[in-house]
Symmetry: C2
Subunit: 117 residues, 2 copies
DNA sequence: ATAATTGTATTATATGTACTAATACAATTA
DNA sequence: TAATTGTATTAGTACATATAATACAATTAT
């Protein structure tokens, strides 16, 4: 698993890890029950501290997206059905906000749609 | 000038002030050469420290959007022509990113446009 | 003339978040 | 037996943010 950490972002590393793994799950890159790198391995690959990876994994487990098994490893949950809808809803909300702001600036719906194409 | 500070946001207070004043300028609410509240007044109104307002004003002055005159007050710049285009370009970039992500999730261009309407 | 207001500036302090460092333990696997 | 796993703890560092408490000079209002 290769995650590009962007140190210039305000977004903390552990959150970038969460977002990327969520993304790979929803896009089907990471499949249910698949094993993901151990805390130490990923930390080493990314050149960061294991605690930082552990924090990301804790959040993902809290969300029900991964399951950590002692001495076994960490795995994608077997039920990831909800996450995709949640993600799309999030994106649609952001889309809405931006479009409303563009409308405030005087652009018309047609102009926006034209630029999307 | 009423600015709603959202303390739950990751975005710092001074940046929320910058964003809101930029917004009011581009939307024509704050007009060129208009006087805006003093550092102390705004700080008092918002219930925050004057230094925080000062920081926001410094950034806005650095951007050329406001001008601070010693012992006189702080005023909107007389030339604010560029800022609107900059803001719209920013929004269009964000719009693009979100749409690309939605396309990744399997939505079609037509579905997205339909939801916009 | 006096008091209040303006922008400006400085120093010190507090706080929260992020991240790292250095370990340690128990259980499983090679 | 050695290596790997998740888990956990404690301590420390670094940074950004925000506040507190002042101070100064110039202008404005009373």
């Amino acid at each position: 698993m290769i995650i590009n950490i962007d140190y210039t972002k305000r977004c903390p590393i552990y959150e970038q890890i969460v977002t990327e793994i969520e993304r790979e799950i929803t896009l089907g890159i990471l499949k249910p029950n698949a094993q993901i790198p151990s805390v130490r391995t990923l930390a080493c690959d990314l050149g960061i501290n294991p605690n930082t990876v552990k924090k990301a994994y804790d959040i993902l487990e809290e969300k029900g997206l991964i399951i950590s098994k002692s001495t076994k490893g960490t795995f994608i949950s077997d039920d990831i059905s909800k996450i995709k809808d949640i993600k799309i809803t999030e994106l649609m909300t952001n889309l809405n906000d931006i479009i409303n702001e563009l409308l405030n600036y005087g652009l018309t719906k047609e102009e926006i749609i034209k630029k999307i194409k």
